[in-house]
Symmetry: C2
Subunit: 260 residues, 2 copies
């Protein structure tokens, strides 16, 4: 580590076993950090991928248990998608933002207020309980509460206040590729507000609220290579502003949005 300058370190947490409903994620993460010789320290931030949070909260659904509505059946027939999956996307959505059968795309607003493809539901890295059974993974019901629970658990075990960000992979309007953003935040301010601070020329800066929780989530992905079991990152050295957290500040309200 370069000592003389502002520096942030990101490392992955490996060795976390396959997560089951009811697992104590906070404890498992804390132990996995210790086991790899990088015990959590004051000032660390944890970024936890949504998938293991959802699994620990029992948010897996066997598709055979889902009865698709007429609307889901109709869209599925036109788009070539699984009607049971379409049904789950509709159930997890507050509103549809774009629905395009030709592309097989549903972009919707989730009950949390996030706009994303398929209401965040996905099927990768989801083991079937019954071999051959198709399973889908839903987003946590309240991802801020999930983040808080993990942070609280770690405080109980270690005495450390470690902010927790629950991350998920998002597509974006106008840009190709996916990036990790935050869907749950506890223990830190998700935004850094540069408004009103003078710039290097003493000119007051007008619009610079940085979504640091999203930048931290994006940074965390750099040490998580999807397929090889690194579902958690530690970010060390970022001078976050402590706070309650909450992703309400990150999800733009419909009235303020020009693109839905």
């Amino acid at each position: 580590m370069v000592e003389s300058v502002e520096s942030v370190e990101i490392f992955g947490v490996a060795g976390i076993p396959e997560i089951r409903a009811g697992d104590a994620l906070g404890r498992m993460i804390s132990e996995a950090c210790e086991a790899q010789g990088s015990a959590l320290k004051a000032g660390d931030i944890l970024v936890v991928t949504q998938k293991i949070v959802s699994k620990s909260e029992g948010r897996l659904v066997e598709l055979s248990s889902v009865s698709p509505s007429e609307f889901a059946l109709s869209f599925a027939a036109r788009s070539g998608r699984d009607p049971r999956l379409v049904e789950l996307v509709l159930r997890e959505s507050k509103a549809i933002v774009r629905m395009d059968a030709d592309r097989g795309v549903i972009i919707s607003e989730t009950h949390h207020g996030f706009v994303c493809a398929n209401a965040g539901i996905d099927q990768s890295n989801v083991p079937a309980n019954v071999p051959g059974e198709d399973v889908a993974c839903l987003l946590p019901k309240d991802s801020d509460a999930s983040a808080r629970r993990i942070s609280d658990e770690i405080r109980g075990l270690t005495g450390l206040d470690v902010p927790v960000i629950v991350s998920d992979t998002f597509g974006r309007a106008w840009r190709e590729g996916h990036v990790n953003f935050a869907i749950g935040v506890a223990g830190m301010d998700p935004m850094a507000d540069y408004r009103g601070t003078p710039d290097a020329q003493g000119r007051e800066m007008h619009v610079t609220t940085i979504a640091v929780a999203d930048e931290l989530a994006a940074a965390a992905e750099l040490v998580q290579f999807k397929a090889i079991g690194v579902p958690v990152s530690v970010i060390r050295g970022y001078p976050y502003r402590a706070g309650v957290g909450g992703c309400g500040a990150l999800a733009r309200e419909r009235q303020r949005d020009m693109f839905r």
Copy 2:
């Protein structure tokens, strides 16, 4: 640094003087790294903020030199914005995506193909040549070429192949706050393609192309506090895939976009 695990380090490069047109950015960055005891090494990635790149390329415009068109005057009158600035935004745009006089907002597609507010033009941290004169900073004309030039210059001086990302602060549809994304890339593949690789359950992953250049740009911001003169970050330890670069892969084509 934790040695036993995958780890990425990010640090800021301070001590870069106010940039003027014609300045050799690659040399100045390389020297500033050495001066702070963190000389560039093989495997490093440089993330350079757009502002200093634009300054080195003489992309500052004195507003007094700009004659607004009728259209710019009309929008400026309805939105309360400076008509000369509106004129510049129009000139730097290939198409307008949203224009809302009540909110004073112009979201447009730049000639490079990026969709952003005000065609990326901004006025913070831009010193006037003549005191009191208003100056605006335009995006680099060809930000991939800018990245390449810096990377080439560093190779010439040090023999190192250091990928360079030119970054800018972007707003997003649906989400509050700004994040840093890439507008120019040289020396590395801006995308990491996880499609076709099996996940931990051996299931083939369908859609996971990660815009790593955007994640690296976002991560770089974590050590750049806008107002205090850290316009460059070094990212050390990220296993990038070497390549020509180019942001063409990041800017979604109009035909593939559902939001313009």
